[in-house]
Symmetry: C2
Subunit: 651 residues, 2 copies
């Protein structure tokens, strides 16, 4: 019954990237194959280079120092060191390995190859003869496997192992890790399906992974195992835990749940996995449920940055409109999970709204999660830090080189390593450009016909994007360009001729017979603009945020005149905003200047002993000051200063 | 060396209540003796009756069901049941016993006497021969005593044992528990002082207790032991724990700390204990430090209700001005700790500000902590609950009959049982009335001269207070009446003659030769009023709160017209407020009516897919509605509905 020897070779099929949707008819769009798209520079090119040169080698050192590799060595029988770290230590290794798989698929490199090969050998050695593989249980609790699905993350770690294995199989054509992963998946199938054992993971993740394993192996039983875990969820099998069953999304069956709730990363990994199942099965109840959840999220639980999760305590979504900027959790992993979910929703439906939110999340909530120089990551991504702030409690919001719970850093790495796959898709009609970045594309469209083009842009700093067609079939096909939700006066010009743009349509579609040398010029004017929150978002009432293009801005203490305090700063919303390119160390970013006001020090009249309240109605004096805002993604790169996204309106 | 047999009899001295300051010259004011003041009715009379008839007997059943008594039985060698509950289970028994000690000092009662005596016998039986007493360690970890001062609460439980013992010695003249407590205190002295062992409790509490034990026993070494624990704090002996050393107030020596920070109950129990030490030693560095901490707290970390603690995660103070109404922790225990600290500060300094904050806390943050009918307690006391709210995470904000961590219920009981002691004090010159309630007072003033008076009032519903002098010495003495910080146009009339009132002075002092039959009429007009927050309190920007007299008001869903949603409700601050007495079940409380506005359903224009943000500057339509506010202390007694204290300004 063990399937360990039945490794399926993928050589017959062209290599894929992440979310390699099968020939299923339920995907509206399809991702490009491996190598069909490359990011050639710009902001994301820079981040991918940083990932390769700094983050990935650095992570190997952190995984060694923190004990992740030692745990696997102990599981493999080398030495008798006690298990170190939280129960999900293996998953950090797997996420990093996944990043290496995609990275080596983009570009070979001896150092990274050796790191990957050593780790793969270690993982293979650690696997038990029956296929089981989890160093925490193997080392610390050998008799207790599968005894605590709610909290002990065995299935979560297995999911990350499978995703890493799929990345190495697709990225490098190396199936050693896939062999290990399939043996473990087969073991899990025997434990649950084979023994009719009820159970669902406390932390979703394996659902996405098993669907990918199905795509890679073409073995439908992996898809069915993913479906089993989804079906089992929502029946309170996991118990109430400390925060109630909704923390695990286990209080309502998946098909009946219309809201996002509980632990944000759990909720979004689950949603992404469910979308993957829909992509392969076309079950409309699943799509209806996750579409409702997406609407709930974006109507009332989404930070302007794309950040998700309002509570520190349980790393969870708050009540609708409970979106405090200071106590925002906005875990970097939740932003990554949102990118993964939105990409799958985009593939399923072809609707621009998912690409819009993917963009907002990438450029803000995600990008803020890694330091410009790669020296640290943030775990928590608040929209406000006060001048007098308390380090220990907020330590997750300060970039650190590594964390005791190190889920975010290798998660950043696997998304950066595969980021080019989230830009562009194809369908039977043509090519869809969802995200704008300097890139080279050479891909098949319908019936194996091939197109190639180069995308040139200074996005996100400037909104002009040029596409140079380099190769095109003689038949007509459609080039679709996303007009972002924030863009008011977009224009598209093809070989000098304007094309009609409907800003509400999501995509501007140009169907024609394209020829090499054709030139498409998209212009997305990026005046700085002010955005206001829904009046129910109590925590930022009376404030506006500055945005420009896809970027959310923030005021950081270091950029203001010395006498200006971030905590007392207001903005006159009637005064003009002015964009202004800044120098190093902010990489030529565009700052925005605005007319600010602030109350002079000591102007709050104290009534009685309580300095924080007074009878209503007294007037405050205000002084005019210039206010400088920088992209939120770049905050915290010049020390540990105060910051705020939402600025009180005063005039 | 054991002092177990050296029980000091207190018969020579008149019986005292809590905080029985010694003859120390460092107390500006002195509390009344046991029996010198009685609450005769009104709101607090009603709460004291509820405590006696409902809460105290009910707690005995909960302590039995939760295993608190069984843990002590196991420690006493009866049965072999495993330890149940958190490590500090004993402290719940002790707080309840303390309440019984004060309660039985006010009024005998066979049922309560039997409950108390049974529990005291059990505690005495559980004590080890060497004086040690902590059922968690005795039952679950006998070899590990004192091994985890940071988290295992042995000294905290010892403190509550001592406080209970003092209450029974003072309240009932029953020294059996004092004998147990002194044996344990002597044991602790040997462990720490006797062996030069560094250490300080992870949760302060024993400091207050040891000072009271010093007062009761007149043994200075208990005061010194309290001082030892205070001196040892602030040197990071407790380690960083999960939230950093400041969680335990252990990152800065006590005399150098000028802010309140970390776990709120820990911070305030420590501050109260330090104030107790100051009261006995007069060390000015201690007073300066806690005065600075009090200023920091009231300038930037105090909820309008007197609630304290802005974080759920670590039950801690937030950064300055981080005061979210929805995620307010405002633990009932923190309000109680604040009452204890402010009372000690008042005794130390005689300054009205401490009585002001004590009043604000009693009538709002504390009183909200127990249901009108005694059927439940709240642990968390937020200032806002949305219409769509999530039960599991907020479960601490819903009144429950008991809690797994049951610190708050018996804490409520011990404060209610001794509440009359917080109303009135004496000094060499006369009598100070700090809090207004129907009461009878018969106390000594300087040199044993005796005064008696009756206080008649419908406070807090009406602001007129009448004092009828019933007995007075022939010498001149001073009657001091606190003019609350909220009272604008207070007046005092003695026998029909107006007395000059300086509202900024804190107290109006009337020095004269008083005669039986003299009549003092204090009037504190209570127009409903609007209060605004400091502009730095981001979470309630653009809002006002309704207050009336000492009461903070809130809008509760159930009181509004059916079409009005709490989440969309605004207030026109220019329209008049109107007080209006309401019927059952709110005990004849005064409601306040105001002119409200709300946006009609569906009036928020959605821009793009994100319902929670839009380009700034669009206007919203508003409808006028009547808004009803009730005292915050009474919310949550008619179901589980939405509530808010801070109401957005719209007009």
């Amino acid at each position: 019954m063990t399937a360990g020897s039945q490794v399926v070779s993928s050589e017959a099929r062209p290599a894929s990237g992440p979310v390699a949707v099968s020939r299923s008819p339920h995907a509206s769009l399809r991702p490009l194959r491996l190598g069909e798209v490359q990011i050639t520079g710009g902001l994301w090119g820079d981040r991918q280079r940083l990932n390769r040169e700094v983050l990935l080698p650095g992570a190997a050192r952190h995984l060694e120092a923190a004990g992740n590799f030692d745990n696997l060595r102990a599981a493999a029988g080398h030495g008798s060191a006690p298990f170190r770290g939280p129960v999900f230590m293996d998953s950090d290794v797997y996420k990093w390995l996944e990043a290496l798989g995609w990275e080596l698929g983009r570009d070979d490199g001896e150092g990274l190859v050796r790191l990957a090969d050593d780790a793969i050998s270690l993982v293979a050695e650690a696997q038990d003869r029956d296929g089981y593989l989890n160093s925490y249980y193997q080392v610390a609790q050998p008799a207790a496997r599968w005894s605590n699905l709610a909290h002990d993350h065995e299935l979560y770690c297995a999911g990350h192992l499978i995703q890493a294995a799929v990345a190495h199989a697709r990225g490098r054509g190396d199936e050693r890790l896939l062999h290990v992963a399939r043996r473990f998946a087969d073991h899990i199938e025997r434990v649950f399906i084979g023994s009719d054992r009820p159970g669902t993971p406390g932390h979703p993740e394996i659902e996405m992974a098993l669907v990918e394993l199905f795509r890679e192996s073409e073995e439908r039983r992996y898809l069915e195992l993913a479906g089993y875990f989804v079906d089992q969820r929502g029946h309170r099998l996991l118990g109430p835990g400390h925060f109630g069953a909704s923390y695990f999304q286990d209080e309502i069956p998946v098909r009946e749940a219309t809201t996002v709730r509980g632990h944000a990363v759990r909720a979004l990994y689950l949603a992404a996995g469910v979308t993957d199942i829909y992509l392969e099965t076309g079950e409309t109840d699943l799509l209806a449920a996750i579409e409702a959840q997406w609407r709930d999220m974006t109507a009332a639980k989404l930070y302007l940055t794309g950040g998700l999760g309002a509570h520190h305590q349980d790393e969870a979504f708050g009540d609708p409109f409970e979106l405090p900027p200071d106590r925002c959790y906005g875990e970097t992993c939740a932003a990554i999970a949102s990118v993964m979910w939105n990409w799958r929703m985009l593939l399923a439906t072809g609707k621009a709204r998912y690409a819009d939110l993917l963009e907002r999340t990438l450029y803000n909530g995600f990008l803020a999660g890694v330091a410009l120089d790669g020296s640290g990551f943030s775990y928590v991504n608040p929209l406000q830090v006060r001048e007098q702030h308390h380090d220990p409690v907020e330590r997750g919001a300060r970039r650190q080189a590594w964390y005791d719970v190190a889920c975010c850093p290798p998660n950043v790495m696997r998304l950066l390593a595969s980021l080019q796959h989230y830009l562009i898709s194809t369908d039977g009609e043509g090519v869809q450009v969802h995200q704008y970045a300097p890139a080279r594309v050479a891909c098949g469209v319908a019936d194996g016909r091939r197109v190639a083009f180069e995308m040139l842009t200074e996005y996100p700093w400037q909104g002009s994007v040029t596409l140079q067609i380099e190769e095109a079939p003689s038949e007509r096909w459609t080039l679709s360009l996303r007009i972002p939700e924030w863009a008011g006066d977009a224009s598209v010009v093809v070989n000098g001729e304007p094309v009609q743009v409907d800003p509400g349509a999501g995509y501007t579609r140009v169907a024609r017979v394209w020829r090499a040398g054709d030139l498409v010029e998209l212009d997305l004017p990026m005046p700085a603009r002010l955005t206001e929150p829904h009046p129910r978002i109590d925590a930022v009432r009376g404030c506006v945020a500055i945005e420009r293009g896809p970027l959310v801005y923030c005021t950081e203490k270091i950029d203001q005149p010395a006498q200006v305090g971030i905590d007392d700063l207001g903005i006159d919303p009637s005064a003009p905003l002015r964009a202004d390119r800044v120098q190093q160390p902010l990489h030529g970013a565009i700052a925005v200047k605005a007319e600010g006001v602030q109350a002079p020090a000591g102007s709050w009249p104290r009534s009685g002993p309580y300095g924080d309240y007074r009878p209503a109605g007294a007037a405050s004096e205000l002084e005019r000051v210039e206010l400088t805002a920088i992209p939120y993604a770049l905050w915290g790169n010049r020390g540990d200063g105060a910051m705020r996204v939402w600025i009180p309106i005063r005039s």
